[in-house]
Each structure stands twice: as C-alpha cells, then as structure tokens.
Amino acid sequence: MLTDVHVPDDVPAAVSLIAAGGTAMGGGTSLMPWLNDYASPPTTLVSLRRAGLSGVHLGGSTVTIGAATTLGQIENDEDLNPVVRSIASVPVRNLATVGGNLFAHQPHGDLAVALVALDARVTLFDETGTRELPVEDFVTAERPAALVTAVAFDRPAPGTFKYLKAARRRFNSVSIVTVAATITESDGLVTGARVALGGVAPTIVRARAVEAALIGGPLTEATVRDAAQAGLAEIAPADDAYASAWYRTRVFPVHLRRALLGH
C-alpha cells in the first residue's frame, strides 16, 4: 500500500526523506508492478524524477550519467546503444533509469552487466557525503545504504567493447546469457580482458577465470573455447520461465564466442 509519494527537488531532500523511511524510486519499472499488484507493506515512495540527477556529462574521455537519466535518454550513446536496445521495450526504457538498473535482480539488469565490463564507478551520497565505488562491488555485494547519484566510465578504445545478449526474442525479452567485455589486443595477443556475465548466476558475474584464460593468447575460437571452459566454474545458472539452468550452461560458451569473435 502506498502511503505517500514525495518528489523532492534536490538530493539532500531526497536523502532525508529516504532516511525517514522512504523508498527511493527511479522510473518505477521494478517497484510499481509490485505496488500495483501485491499486498505490499505501507510504502512511502521518494521519486528521483526532479532531484536534479538526470543528464549525461562528457568530460574528456569520461562519461558521467546521472542516476535518474532514463535508458531512453542514453539510447543513442555510441557504446551503450546495443546494450540499451536489448533491454525491455521503448515505453519501459523511457521510464527505467540508469541508477535503477543497478538494483535490478538477475536475470534483469543488462546495463549493469555492461557497466561492470566497462569498469564503471558508481557515485553514492548519504549524510556523510559523496563517495565512489566500482559498479562491480556495488552489484555483487550487499548494497550500501546510500543514494546512487551517478555512474561514470571511461570511453573504451574503439572496437574494444563487446556486448551480446541472448534471449528468446530479439526485442523485449529477459536475458538467457548476457556477455559484456572489454578486450584489448596488441600484436595479435590479448593484453587486457574484463568480462562480465548476466543471466547465469544470482548476481552479475565478473568472469575472472575467463579473463585469465584469454590474457596472453590470441583471440581465436580455440582460446575462447578454453576460456569458456574455465568460465563454467564461475557461473551458477538457475531455472526460470525463460531457460533452464542446463540450457544456460550449454549455450554459455556459444554466446561467449559470438560476443568476443562476432560469429
């Protein structure tokens, strides 16, 4: 049951309303379905729509995105376009926010998967002030009690960011396997790899074994197959309405190959 909905004009006002027991809401695409349909405990919403947290800022090679920026507003970003278009549908993306995506439960939250691969940072605000945390730490551990105000990442070098989401349909379908990676190569050998996986575990996975297997070798079908084999130890898929755990495990190496090699 909704007891009140606040629409604060700035971040300090939002933080005090949340400290007083309010629930922060970005676009409401996770919270509102629950509030519309289920017997929820008394809930006071704190909408971030007017808190001054919208917008994209480019400072040199760093992209900073306000937490209340909608997915629709970043759809044309050169790196994030394929990520955004793989998420939900147009009328949902025009509500769903970048900050809110960091709270989506797997197998949702594909933008957060991409942000882990991009080594993005999340800015948090609470009564003690502002601090930054790697998005990876934020989405893989218990989230701190603070307001997400922005995410930021450094533009990847052209061609180094890879993203693929396998789902039952091409548009508006939940992840079966999501692969996001930044791969740097020099003289035909992988010099850097940062691989994040969605859809294959209770939380987003930073696939360190996959990365370790890739670094130092060429990027070929054989090396990616070996890396996927190493990655099987890092994933723990579940059965859901979209795919079985067996199927997710079976197709993970295929989608890792397609993401990294393009075929």
Partner: protein, 166 residues
C-alpha cells in the same frame, strides 16, 4: 493519506485533479479525466495497452504515479483525430484491419505515433522494435506492422517530404 493537486496538459488542454498516492497516470486519465481510450491491461508495464506520450516520449502510464509528473504534457489516443478526421496512423489501422478486438490498439497507435515522430520512414524491423512493448493477442502483428508502414507512407506523401520522392 495525503491527496495532492496535480496539473497536467492533456491533449493540449490544461487539467487539474486530486491524486492519491496510488493514483497512477493511467488511473487519473481514465477515472478522473474520463479519457478511457487508454487501456488498463496488466498494470505491470508488460502489455503496453496503457502507452501514452509523456512530454513526447511513449511510456507505460500504469507505472507512473500521477504526482511525480505534475506539470507534464500528456498525449493520449483521444487527442489524435482532428474532429472526425482520423490521424494517418488511426486511418491506416482502420483500412488495414489492424485492430480486431481493439484493446491493444490505443497503445499500439501511441507507440507508432512516437516512432513516426522521430523516424518518418521506418523499416519493418524498426516498427517491430518500436512496438515490442505492445502485446496483441488477435492479429499476429502483421496487419499492425503493415498499417504503421502504410501510415508512414501516407504521412510522407501528405507532407511532401524528401522521403516521399524516393
């Protein structure tokens, strides 16, 4: 339970109404403003039958608490026709029998209007993406996609845009 006054510009007309915390934009349109063209389907943001344009962008109005959009500009299916003359998209839906039961139609049409506003010459793939959040259980989608492509052509022809010459 706090009740607040919400002001909206709906289809070009200034409106004010009282909203409870649980009053969504969808419920305000239907029950307070009498605009029942916008349909309540799932109330989960999954079916798209409540799609309206909020400050020009299509959104599922069932997920929007009305008090969060005080002062916004809203367009619904009721605002499209000019008197008895249907919009290009509406007329193309009628001519192409893209409605059948009609429940998804207002949401489909609002998604189509938003698409054509930003892309006057979409491919059928772009139409598929634009209506991927709108569920239809009657048509099998083909008549809807064809109607939107037809509407795009009518509009280009009527406005004499460069695309029409191609």
């Amino acid at each position: 339970m706090p009740v607040r006054i919400v002001n909206l510009k709906v289809n070009g007309v200034e409106q004010a109404f009282m909203a409870k915390p649980e009053t969504t934009l969808l419920l305000a349109l239907r029950e307070q403003l009498g605009l029942t063209g916008t349909k309540r389907g799932c109330a989960q943001g999954a079916c798209g039958s409540c799609t309206v344009l909020l400050d020009g962008a299509p959104v599922v109005s069932c997920l929007v608490p009305a008090v969060t959009v005080d002062g916004a500009d809203v367009a619904t299916v009721e605002g499209l026709a000019d008197g008895q003359a249907l919009s290009d998209v509406q007329q193309a839906f009628v001519d192409g029998f893209a409605t059948q039961c009609g429940f998804c139609t207002p949401g489909m049409i609002m998604s189509a209007e938003a698409l054509l506003a930003r892309n006057p010459d979409p491919t059928s793939d772009e139409v598929n993406e634009a209506i991927s959040g709108n569920v239809c259980r009657c048509t099998g989608y083909a008549p809807i996609v064809n109607a939107i492509l037809d509407a795009a052509q009518r509009r280009r022809r009527r406005t004499g845009s460069k695309e029409a010459a191609l």
